[in-house]
Amino acid sequence: MRDNRDQLHAIKKFSLTEAVTFGQGDTVDFTNPLPPFSFDPHITAYATQKHNEIAYVMAPHIVPRFSLMETQSKIENPHLLQGYAAHPIRVQESPYNQTLIIAQKPGEISLTSQEARNFFQIHKNVAEWLIGPMVRILRDFEQLNLTHRAIHPARITFDDFSFKNLNLGYGFLTPPGFLQPACYEPLQTCFAEPTARGSGHPSYDLYALGVTILSLFKDPKFLQHLSSADTNKRRLSEGSYAFFLEKQMFSERITELLKGLICDDLSQRWTPDDLESWADFNKVHARYRPPQKSATKPFLYQGQEYNSPALLIHQMGTDHTWAQDVIFSEDFRVWMRRNSGQHENTVGIEDAKVAASRTEASIRQDAIVSYCLMALDPEQPLYFKGVVFTLDGIGDHLAAYFYDTQKRSDTAALLNSKAPLFWLSLKEQKSPQVLRFNKLYQESANFLSKRGMGFGIERCLYELNPHVPCQSPLLNAVAMYDNTDILDALNHYAAHNPGQLSAKLPIDRHLMAYAATHYDFIKDDFLNAFPDERAPKEQKIIGCLRFLSLIEKNTNTQPLKDLYYWVHDLSLQSIGIYRSKKRRDMIQKLLESQRNPCPIDRLLDWIDNTAEKKLDMDEFMDAKKHHIYTVHKIKEWQFKLDNIRSVSRDICDNFSILLAAMGSLFMAALYLFV
């Protein structure tokens, strides 16, 4: 990947009527969209000045898989198309940021073209030109624990009609499986929301490859028809292989290949090794076993009959209006026991109900349905409020719809209900991945329960999607790949928005949550002690300085000029935390003397000095007591003033007698001696 660090700081704003240069000379001609590559309405392709590169602009809600793009760049495979650079952009008059990705240009001929189909149907050399390169790619992905999740005939291209040089298109442009029609997705993910399909298992790519191979021999409309929601449901009762290959006749070799790839059970599905053996014309047997027979007596739900328990559970998950009543009905239990042999599961729904009843009252009903469906069939995806999620797709879904209030709150409710944790608790094998997700979703529920800075739904967003750039308006989506440049980004913001800084703090909820996710040294204890939004401004400024100072110290960042001036102005506003004017004047003088950038820690030492604050508080309390004393004294003297006649009576009496005595003596002396 190119080093585009110097371009991460600013969002490029432009209109789509010009050619714009990004980064290190990537000029994109926005006047010339490329229809052949616009395979999805969410992505628009544009030509660049380099003949072997192409620019893709994602729709605002599409969050590319930056982590995949970055990790994939380590794979040196000539058949894999790479991404080169990503730039945050904003098309003029659009309120949203978008992502532009410069990537390697795909070949001219895709697998969907008639020529390709003819070639593979006639020559039958699928193994040589298709399977071989694909196995190498999938093996590379597996080694790095990656999944492509976008294998589709439209994204497999060839340079020329010799079909010798295969190029597998990009899996990083969109969330995993987002672009895939339902039939290219395995049973575990095909019903999930396109944004919530998750990275899944490496064998999901093998499944997609199987359907891709099948597409070579079928009419394109055939698979399109099978991808429709109603038809696709039949896979639950029939199994994917039987569903796709019903009454289809292929050669024994191709049938074995498809049987090995298009099966629903992961343990039955072929591995890249099996596929390679097959390509080498070794004898490899498919491990596929047909699914259990469906129920003989159908169950009636919402006026429709269901023969398969899996299909019924799916229907109740997606149309959950009456699900709770049905689940706890005796008829349903009897039917489940008789037809699926799932006696244990029908007993388990009572436990599920108890577990779900511990959730918040506002989401309890939805949680009960969700928990019970999971208990009935732990192999199915996660159903919540009629939306289908995979376990690792929740984060992608949240990222895609973070600015859709309804979907965001639904996803938050799902996390809050701890349904993912219940789903994981049903797993018999506690693999490292299960344990990782368990920790992640436990933490997410905790984060949602806290309202302070660095917590809440924002924290969940970044914890579940570490690759998502910070959504803070202060950062302008600059911290895409390198999360250590938060201070650089703030410095950039300060340099470019000098007039808007006086009343603004260089932190917000997104920034705090992002930093808490990406920096180990920002502990939850620090965030718990952070002043909340209702705290006085001075305390918020000091909290903010502490936060920035912590990052500055731990990332060994040198003082940044524009950020320093911003922070310096704020620190001057924060001296109001001291009650003593004398002390405020002293600190102000200290701060004003430090006009040259210095570590934020030094400013903080002056402003946030514990001993000084204690002394200030003690003195203040003394002053307050003194003020109270003066108030009482004034009242006392005012009372005396108001009642001066009675107060002065004694004095007057004594004084008049004294005066008379003195006068008498004076008169006597005057008379006797003069």
Partner: protein, 156 residues
């Protein structure tokens, strides 16, 4: 442990006044035994004092004392010449008929009344000036505290 401060006992004015009254009459009687002329002059000269004493409702009898002090001083200055004359009224008559002496005795009483009437005005003015000064000083202290510590220092 510090001893609690015992409140000052209120003076018993009635008792004090009674003693003074008795002493006064004893003195007047003693004068009567010494000189009849002095006795007559004292008796009639002290009329303003009696009036002031009985008119004064104040238990301290400040008017009585004030007028009494100035009045009796003047009486004693006048009768000092009569006392050696003994019981011979004829010798005392020129003194008794001299209006200057009576005028001096009653002027003494007037001065006493004057002192008693003027004193409250002077005292009140002085006290008011003093109290207002103290209040001003306290308010200045308050302003200084507010200036130094802000409005938060103003206690409830």
């Amino acid at each position: 442990m510090s001893k609690a401060k015992t409140p000052r006992k209120a003076p018993n004015y009635k008792k004090r006044n009674l003693i003074v009254k008795i002493l006064f009459f004893l003195v007047v009687l003693a004068i009567g035994f010494v000189s009849f002329g002095a006795f007559v002059m004292t008796l009639f000269g002290a009329l303003p004092t009696f009036a002031a004493w009985y008119r004064d409702n104040n238990p301290r009898k400040s008017l009585g004392y004030t007028v009494g002090l100035t009045n009796t001083t003047c009486i004693f200055l006048v009768i000092k010449d009569l006392l050696p004359m003994g019981q011979h009224l004829t010798q005392a008559m020129p003194y008794l008929q001299n209006p200057w002496y009576w005028c001096m005795i009653y002027m003494g009483a007037v001065v006493g009344y004057g002192i008693h009437n003027m004193t409250p005005k002077i005292v009140i003015k002085t006290l008011r000036w003093n109290f207002q000064g103290k209040i001003q000083d306290l308010k200045r202290t308050q302003n200084y505290l507010v200036q130094q510590w802000g409005r938060d220092v103003v206690g409830e």
